[in-house]
Symmetry: C2
Subunit: 328 residues, 2 copies
């Protein structure tokens, strides 16, 4: 098992988020930078709407950072759509050197990690990470068109309509101090309606590797934030980390649980999708770190790396969790 922690000296210069109507109505809805109540963002297909969210998220982050697109040396972008077209078309007009990523819902963490590593080493002065998901484009691609009104399992999560953009380089308030890339882990879960269970073993892998390699403990952090385990994955993670000798229940938060109200929003196990952790991190958690309300945060971007075809062919779902340590 690799126990390599990447030491970093860089920061988040600016971040921004764009979400749909349901996300705006959620408990942290007022924190997002921009929203469209009908989720279309002025486009005639859901896929184009997803690209438009990415476009607006990056433009807003550039505005906040008082930067132009030519100030960005490289873009790291990806999404859940087949061939990552949300990003390919969303980022096309910027004319910035482009690295396409596919990390499933861990793409925000993967992109920030690569942007952080390449700015920390001085290869780039500034790089941006952008990602998105859209409920309607994802559901019709992975499961069924939302118009069918199909019954959903209690462990199912609701794909977030949202995008997040992060501009990474020296000089920002939120420092990126460490990173640990995830190892794909597959423990036999083959239920596409239970991504939380499929991704949790990868979080355990990364988190225990990190605690051992760094000598740190859960109490060293104000928050351990997972991307989109949802209520199901959250409870599995708390229990299994206790078996590993770590009680993380007092510091564990999950973007998928924060973005919707379980009581009033009928989202079953919580939010998911690349846009989930991206939007929550960009507009809720990072600003809290910048203000000093949170001082040491571990973020684990979680992803489930299957496709509809791989499930139909009987394969189980590999998960991955990329870790970043943020500090004020």
């Amino acid at each position: 098992m690799s126990d390599k922690i990447i030491k970093l000296d860089t920061s988040v210069i600016a971040s921004a988020s764009v979400v749909g109507g349901r996300e705006h109505e959620g408990p942290i809805g007022s924190f997002f930078d921009m929203h469209d109540p009908d989720d279309s963002f002025g486009m005639d297909t859901w896929e184009k709407a997803e690209s438009e969210m990415q476009r607006r998220a990056l433009s807003t982050a550039l505005l906040k950072g008082k930067l132009k697109s030519h100030d960005i040396d490289a873009l790291f972008a990806g999404d859940l759509l087949n061939q990552c077209v949300g990003s390919a078309y969303g980022m096309l007009a910027y004319g910035i050197p482009y690295f396409g990523l596919y990390g499933a819902c861990s793409t925000a963490a993967e992109g920030i990690m690569l942007a952080a590593t390449l700015t920390s080493t001085g290869i780039f002065e500034r790089a941006a990470a952008v990602t998105s998901s859209h409920n309607c484009s994802a559901e019709r691609q992975y499961r069924m068109p939302t118009e069918y009104g199909g019954q959903r399992a209690p462990t199912a999560q609701w794909t977030v309509t949202g995008a997040g953009a992060f501009i990474v380089g020296r000089g920002g308030d939120v420092k990126i101090k460490e990173a640990m890339p995830g190892i794909p882990i597959e423990k036999g879960i083959n239920d596409a309606s239970n991504m939380g269970a499929a991704m949790t073993p990868a979080v355990i892998s990364t988190l225990t590797r990190y605690f051992k390699a760094s000598g740190s403990e859960p109490r060293d952090f104000d928050m351990i934030l997972t991307g989109d385990l949802g209520h199901e994955g959250y409870s599995i993670l708390c229990g299994l980390m206790r078996v590993e000798g770590y009680d993380i229940s007092h510091v564990l938060c999950d973007c998928g649980m924060m973005i919707y109200s379980k009581e009033t929003q009928d989202v079953h196990s919580g939010g998911s999708g690349c846009g989930c952790s991206a939007a929550v991190l960009a507009s809720y958690v990072l600003p809290k770190i910048a203000r000093g309300e949170l001082r040491r945060v571990l973020f684990l971007g979680t992803g489930a790396m299957m496709s509809p075809s791989s499930l139909q062919q009987g394969l189980s779902i590999p998960g991955i969790a990329h870790l970043l340590r943020f500090e004020v």
Copy 2:
């Protein structure tokens, strides 16, 4: 326009390729490390066969480099399948920290570039880049199942059944000296049977940016190698580069033209797919550089970043071309 050239001090320690029957029958077929005449690689679906090719390619590269999987600090992998499951399942058992990429057919170049940058800066000691494509998994996903025997356009390319793996770090014979990431370019081509035309403007963008920023000229190189422009893209590129003031016709080669015989193999405009440039580079071009038969090579991995959905929705095809400079 960004003119950033990344200066590198790293190398390819080992590389390997795995191909299908048709690639083995081609003009450079005897150079590939491994092949399966029936393209199944012992698997019961084409998608699993593609993962198996990646597995064998990486294992063979590790063997050649006298390395074990735990000697590799990070994997950069991707493919053409929806959600990049060729890589997710192919690389799962290795237990190596994993960065999923989607760069369409430019993924070999993108992966080698990231592996090179992160080993050159000392973040990782060794990293691997792995990619693949499979004719049968790609054709049924992008166009139509091969069993239909659909008529193909003269400009259409044949998706290569192949995988390539590259282990990058200090000490190898093939030095990686420079890299320039590509900028996505879209010039209105919306014909999925003419990827060469769609990708060529991106090659022109990267190549002219590189020549200007480096002060080099075509005659400074023994070979300028594009990934998979095919016969159509090749001739467009030669003509349009002449308009830009560069005659590259005497040094330009294309992996998609090298892998098949135009005369005897009925592949129309040549090969394409992530596996095309990966296999040709891994087993034919890099060994020639290592032996000193080629001394200075510019490689441009080319990708077409569309999906079947984006084409159905009327969008044109953005291309990308990532540049690497290899030296003996």
